[in-house]
């Protein structure tokens, strides 16, 4: 039997939800003051996901890097590998906000898109 602690981020109460499980089966959830806390703890335990925001190198733009974001949630455990994968990428200016920079990162089905317009460097 193992006890996990998840601090719920849904509202400022920040309930410290305690989830007890054995061999992956959830036995008990407590300390949450509403249903959201329960849902959050379950999500964090079974399949924690995150939005990834980072930068990607750019060729020929007014800035050397462009901010990008994942269009959807990525499994938390894949985040670091995603960063390594995206480090290899070089995008070309001009870029429009929402342009796809990387398709289906690490087979998650998630796109990485640009967060902004980035003009070409005139120089």
């Amino acid at each position: 039997m193992k006890k996990h602690r998840f601090v719920c981020i849904d509202c400022p109460l920040s309930c410290e939800v305690a989830l007890t499980e054995e061999d992956g089966k959830i036995l008990e959830i407590k300390n949450n003051r509403c249903k959201k806390g329960e849902e959050y703890a379950i999500a964090e335990f079974t399949n924690p996901v995150r939005i990834l925001t980072t930068t990607v190198r750019v060729e020929g733009g007014i800035l050397p890097v462009v901010p990008v974001r994942s269009k959807g949630h990525i499994p938390k455990k894949l985040i670091r590998e995603c960063m390594r994968e995206l480090a290899k990428v070089e995008a070309n200016a001009p870029i429009k906000c929402g342009d796809m920079i990387y398709e289906n990162v690490l087979n998650t089905g998630i796109y990485i898109v640009s967060s902004r317009d980035l003009q070409e460097d005139e120089a």
Binding site: V65, P67, R69
Partner: protein, 416 residues
């Protein structure tokens, strides 16, 4: 001399919203002056998400949020001046300069201050020791990583658990640096819980509350910092000193509204917010000068900044067209029990808007409180809050008609 209707100083979220609002409320000749080569203010470097949850009902990144407003501004006849620094300001006049136009001597019927804020620096918090390279305020490091594409350091210690510091703890880690820990002098974290979880817990970065930095070593580049626990008076406890070898010290120790121009125009300042005293139209003590966004008081959410900008823009437009009717008796808004500050600090207009929103911060964390708005003994508004925390700004919105005959003073307080 150039004649404009409204001059907005600062093209960040406050200024963008203000310029759009002024234009849409009837001001024809609106100039937006921005010192950077592009619009967006601080948003282009805030590449994380969490912006726009209220206004757009989406979790956007900083650049995405800015892009929405920038795209809107492009559709209007607003004159945007980039690379433009305002050097001097007085009532209805300002002097600015940029490489293309040279000196701009501008006469404006209304001026909207949206210059944002600057970061508190190392000397301001009196950290002893040397002054090597490798000491950065979090915002500067953020710019370097997210816009210049360079890493300020490899082994980082962070002082301050405000949101910028937490965000940067994650950013440094994701880019391959080691963040040894986040040290916070208060006994409570300064940033949103969401960030504690997703920036520190996710990456096993320890948060040490009631700690501060008491020495910096390194003559050329940071080599080591010394941390220590502090007592209830925030005095370092010598026996708890611990040396940490690192090459970067990141400071996230507070934001200060940038009001040098405001002071030039003799605008009355609120010593608690650090910004101008404003009324419900965001107008300052100087007729025709408005202030919105972080220049008035430091916000947590950009959505609130945009709302304030929108208000100021409307105020400026109505000021020009003489639509604003002033009350006979202005109402001073005071913060009572456990209230650090309230904005606006004064209600001066009759019927400016259907609703009025008060923005406030509490002094101490409290659970199960009732936020009340009182006019003497009369209760005008109340709302229960499960918990109130200093880092989380509170909004109280009520219909303006409830403030019709309130006399000359209002108090907002947190009651148990």
């Amino acid at each position: 001399m150039i004649d404009v209707d409204v001059a907005v100083i600062g093209g960040g979220p406050a200024g963008l919203a203000a310029a759009l609002s002024a234009y849409r409320n009837g001001a024809k000749n609106v100039w937006l002056l921005e010192r950077n080569p592009e619009l967006g203010g601080i948003l282009p470097q805030c590449i994380h998400d969490g912006f726009g949850n209220f206004i757009f009902k989406e979790m956007l990144t900083g650049p995405e949020y800015a892009q929405r407003y920038i795209d809107e501004v492009k559709k209007t006849g607003i004159t945007v001046k980039l690379n433009t620094m305002v050097l001097e300001m007085g009532p209805e006049r300002l002097i600015a300069v940029n490489p293309k136009d040279g000196l701009l001597d501008i006469k404006a019927k209304a001026i909207i201050l949206a210059m944002g804020c600057r970061e508190r620096t190392r000397p301001q918090i009196l950290i002893p020791g040397y002054r090597p390279a490798g000491i950065y305020t979090a915002g500067v490091a953020q710019r370097y990583i997210n816009m210049e594409g360079v890493m300020p350091g490899k082994k980082v210690v962070i002082l301050g658990s405000g949101d910028v510091g937490l965000i940067m703890a994650r950013r440094f880690t994701l880019e391959g640096a080691k963040v040894e820990g986040v040290y916070e002098i208060m006994s409570n974290p300064g940033g949103l819980t969401r960030n504690i979880v997703q920036c520190l817990n996710d990456y096993d970065i320890p948060l040490h509350l009631s700690h501060t930095i008491v020495n910096i070593k390194g003559k050329k580049r940071v080599e080591e910092v010394t941390v220590a626990q502090v007592d209830s008076q925030m005095t370092p406890i010598k026996s708890t000193k611990r040396d940490i070898s690192c090459d970067t010290l990141l400071l996230s120790v507070g934001l200060i509204p940038e009001n040098e121009l405001s002071k030039m125009a003799d605008v009355a300042m609120d010593p608690i917010t650090g910004g101008p005293v404003v009324d419900e139209a965001m107008e300052t003590s100087v007729s025709g000068i408005f202030a919105c966004g972080n220049v008035a008081h430091v916000h947590d959410l950009v959505d609130d900044v945009s709302k304030a900008g929108e208000t100021a823009g409307k105020g400026a437009a109505e000021h020009i067209s003489d639509k604003i009717k002033k009350r006979k008796v202005p109402v001073i808004v005071k913060g009572g029990r456990n209230i650090r500050y309230v904005v606006p600090q004064i209600i001066r207009n009759e019927d400016f808007d259907k609703r009025i929103t008060f923005y406030l911060r509490v002094n101490d964390v409290e659970e199960d409180v009732k936020l009340v708005l009182l006019s003497g003994e009369k209760l005008l508004y109340k709302r229960k809050e499960n918990v109130v925390k200093p880092p989380e700004m509170v909004r109280l919105t009520l219909l303006s008609k409830f403030l019709e005959n309130v006399g000359n003073e209002l108090t907002i307080e947190a009651q148990k």
